[in-house]
Symmetry: C2
Subunit: 257 residues, 2 copies
DNA sequence: GTCGTTATTATGTCTAGACATAATCTCGCG
DNA sequence: CGCGAGATTATGTCTAGACATAATAACGAC
């Protein structure tokens, strides 16, 4: 399935015209029957090619009118939220999870979990992701026990709730918030930084078929974590993108492809 | 093009089995000829349906072996980097751009621009995005004059380089880094915050066909800016997602759909 | 048993049609 | 001139085949 399939070549050709600016936004690209003639193939083939562009958002198609180059929409990037343990180990450092607390709480007492619309009890776990023996990130997790009762059997002393949930619970939708923040006293102490030390805060809500599963707040000291996203307009195959964990001694840029 | 199309129904049916967990990761879904029989249609139709799942990353296909439910892929999110002016105005605040400096620099003097592989001179602009008369974010921009010579004719006193480039220059690829950081002295002063005030730093490199166009570093005080992303595994139509700009007086959550 | 060869098989791609659907354009009526 | 009816047209969807490709499985030679 390399790109010598004709429909892929057509898609690439058309995408090239758009990327180069030769076909500006609003420009009507050739009709399918014109592309049929140009490439000497069946309409199903050019349809597949142009349809792929439409899925990527590079063009808009209107019956009877034709196919038009889409306005340069604000970039959409594929961003992947990584498995922290895998990222740390990929960097050659020892990973460890250290649980700080485990509690059952009433849903009402956790405003962050409101979006999940939890019915009854929540499992509240707090712990540290450690890299090379040092605090790497703080995880504060709420799990909706009404939806994931089996989570009550797990004490999360050896495995982080994030990793456990990923392996045990299917999810269908999620929402993230990424922001910077100064840590509160408790968080600063757990991470071993001062309150004036900038942190990256990643909040995540997860649902399964409209049922709220879990909420997580991950707090990383600024130098420990960085999200990167490489992409093309309408996302091409430029690889799902990873979180990069800068080395503590890494002041220079790295040229990952 | 509502979802009455048979191939869409098939895609949705299969996606439902996966989302519900009925077909766990690694499970072999029915062969195309089985789906043909089940839905009473041609193979091209079921192929289109299953192919769509593969594009979304929900399944992996192997010739001869069959089609398998993909491992619970670390989430891939659609993230959109917004037009700052539009976001601020959408919030009902007055937007303004205030240029701080405009200079021509040699490429070598800017390590951040190294990834762009600039040949000659760079245009270096620094300025503030203002919301309701107060500093909202600092933009530090480098433009590769070898690739965008017309940028030299613009003084960027009234319009931010980000907005100008979006409207005038086509791009084909970009890379982002999102991180938290403490501002340096100069940045803190421009934003009117202390050095201990956490900031969200968004770096962006942009290319057009392997030619480096521009680099930007955007620095926002923690409370001013927040990225949100809502998505489903393998991205469904859950709307391209926006950056959320929290109100300064907004301590509570908001439940945007 | 191990290694290489061959047959099998599911997916990948493509064709030459067909009808459906929705938007646009044209034309004529008032 | 405004406006609705009908003709036109590009895309959307689908069929029933076909050959190509790649990976597995079965088989045989050593």
């Amino acid at each position: 399935m390399i790109s010598w399939a004709l429909h892929r070549r057509i898609t690439a050709d058309l995408a090239g015209e758009i990327a180069s600016g030769a076909w500006p936004p609003g420009h009507r690209i050739p009709f399918e029957h014109e592309l049929m003639a140009r490439y000497g193939c069946a309409r199903a083939t050019v349809n597949k090619a142009v349809h792929a562009l439409a899925v990527q958002g590079l063009v808009e198609r209107r019956r009877k009118a034709g196919t038009f180059v889409a306005p340069p929409h604000v970039a959409s990037a594929v961003l992947s939220i990584p498995d922290i343990k895998a990222e740390i180990e990929a960097r050659g450092q020892a990973y460890a999870w250290r649980r700080i607390s485990w509690r059952i709480r009433r849903a009402q007492s956790e405003p962050d979990a409101a979006e999940l619309k939890p019915a009854g009890a929540l499992l509240a776990i707090k712990g540290l992701h450690m890299a090379a023996g040092r605090p790497f990130g703080l995880e504060e997790r709420l799990v909706n026990l009404a939806e994931v009762p089996v989570a009550g059997d797990e004490d999360f002393a050896r495995v982080s709730p994030g990793a456990w949930l990923l392996a045990h619970v299917a999810w269908s939708e999620a929402r993230h918030e990424i922001a910077a923040a100064n840590p509160d006293v408790e968080t600063a102490e757990a991470l071993g930084v001062t309150r004036g030390h900038a942190c990256l805060v990643l909040k995540r809500w997860t649902w399964r078929q409209d049922a709220g599963i879990t909420f997580a707040r991950l707090t990383f000291p600024a130098e420990a974590f960085e999200l990167t996203a490489r992409f093309a307009p309408g996302f091409a195959d430029h690889g799902p993108v990873r979180a990069r964990i800068p080395s503590r001694s890494d002041e220079s840029k790295e040229g990952r492809p």
